[in-house]
Symmetry: C2
Subunit: 340 residues, 2 copies
Amino acid sequence: MKAHIRVLLVFLLAAAVGLGPGTEAFAQTDPLASWNDGPAKQAIVEFVRATTDRSSPQFVPPAERIATFDQDGTLWVEHPMYTQVLYCLDRVPAVVKQRPELAKVEPFKTVLSGNREAMAKLSMDDLFKILAVTLTGMSVDEFKAEARSWLDTARDPRWKRPYTELTYLPMIELLKYLRANGYMTYIVTGGGQDFVRVYSEAVYGIPPEQVVGTAGGTRYGYDKSGRPFLTKEPKLLLNDNNAGKPEGIHLMIGRRPYAAFGNSTGDRQMLEYTKAGDGARLAMLVLHDDATREYAYGPALGLPGTKVGTFTQALYDEAMKQRWTVISMKNDWRRVFAFE
Amino acid sequence: MKAHIRVLLVFLLAAAVGLGPGTEAFAQTDPLASWNDGPAKQAIVEFVRATTDRSSPQFVPPAERIATFDQDGTLWVEHPMYTQVLYCLDRVPAVVKQRPELAKVEPFKTVLSGNREAMAKLSMDDLFKILAVTLTGMSVDEFKAEARSWLDTARDPRWKRPYTELTYLPMIELLKYLRANGYMTYIVTGGGQDFVRVYSEAVYGIPPEQVVGTAGGTRYGYDKSGRPFLTKEPKLLLNDNNAGKPEGIHLMIGRRPYAAFGNSTGDRQMLEYTKAGDGARLAMLVLHDDATREYAYGPALGLPGTKVGTFTQALYDEAMKQRWTVISMKNDWRRVFAFE
């Protein structure tokens, strides 16, 4: 029997036992079960239909299906402080042990004091100094091991859980739903690329090569036995915030996304860039308006924003004007966390 | 009938009609048909077996299967001059038309003279000046359109064919063979990332997001109608040569490759870095020793090298010492080009 006849036969047999589309073999529960019915869920489902249905005028070939997600405040909790900043603050004592001269210098003195109120007042410049000494100077492998160990042991004070469990269930469902429809799901974060890559695969199902983040340079060298290794350098290559997001997308992906998801002014340019492409494009912003189940913050709600990225009134106005979809955490999400 | 019983039934039926492994339905011609039997082909086949056979102690999970390929001289012809440099030289008249002041300044004066002998003597500094003005200052989309149009019309003087046809058939087979075995195949080139991305998918089956190359910054801005776009800036972010190759791999991929392929000193660190990982690792160097079918050059053959990357005697010695495999174009390749 010729091979192609055999293949045909198997298809016919499969059809005979009911394995065609539309039968219960393909029946499944709602892939977006944690989303309430409403405009946000509808926008997602309609976008996926328009771009994956071969008969749609807005059909997108699988190779071009790119979706980009901000992380902090979009995929997991960012309030009251970014997880990576907490990591860096926790790393300060170990760094000072190696470099005792830092103990008497600000901002390290304040961090070592443990005074949370004083720490909350640190400037962005102070934070950058802390990030520089806690995220660079070690080998790439040492950094990975340290970050992994911290993530395994650190607990969020409100939920008493590892930070990696504070991801939003509706967004995890959305990532899976898009991937099931042929989309490559990228993280495009203002956070450190190397930090997020440590857990992105386990937590989001996103491999390291699909994480774009703020990135420093590395330096290639050899250890005493001649084995090559990379050292993390305090040299900024990509500040993956604001205009840095589309710039980073071009650098790392080289294609314009069809869908982009964010929650703050730091995501504005990524959403604009996404929407400026031809055909169906989806741009969505998570609004933190659920003080009970998570947090409510941001000037769009008449409340103070977070330290860096903020959902401002101007961003809200642009979203309305550009027909971006605002996701109300309170109204659009049936559940917020998987552990609840 | 329960869905999983149905699925089982289909597998059983498939087996019944002979669609199991080892039958003629899976019989196929040699995926590396353009390779002669010998140590190079053997090293490839053995590496793939060792890393993809589940019972092998050196088995590598599919998500970690990364192979990186230099381009110029490894995947396509680089002699006597890199294709991208030819593109830049051809672009000079159009740039001078826009910026007439350059006509009286070196190295542009020499390029405009059309004197090939004088052009061959241009220094690396001169080349960088030419690259800077011909590869930056336009939008990303304009650049893509220009490069595509040049690639469609330019012809190599020896073979009278588009440059994109001057790829090595054995290496194209190798890319496909690795992908068929679950490997992601990345280009890691000293050439311009944006340039290679224009044709990588059509020519190598490698999508833009799997091209790592020398990369400049872009600048996000808006046109008169408020539409956002990216402009190519003369700011070097990644010099993807020598130590820049493992650094670029860390930046863009975030995993160490299991296999790496190059042909010059510019690939040395990438091969070292690849081989320094645990388990089975494959490092190979293409030696251009076929003056009849392609070219013979490089100090390893006692001949002058190319302008930039060169197969030096020191590289040859390191390859022998580190047990990298040298691919002799003359002896290991049954065919060189698909068009022959």
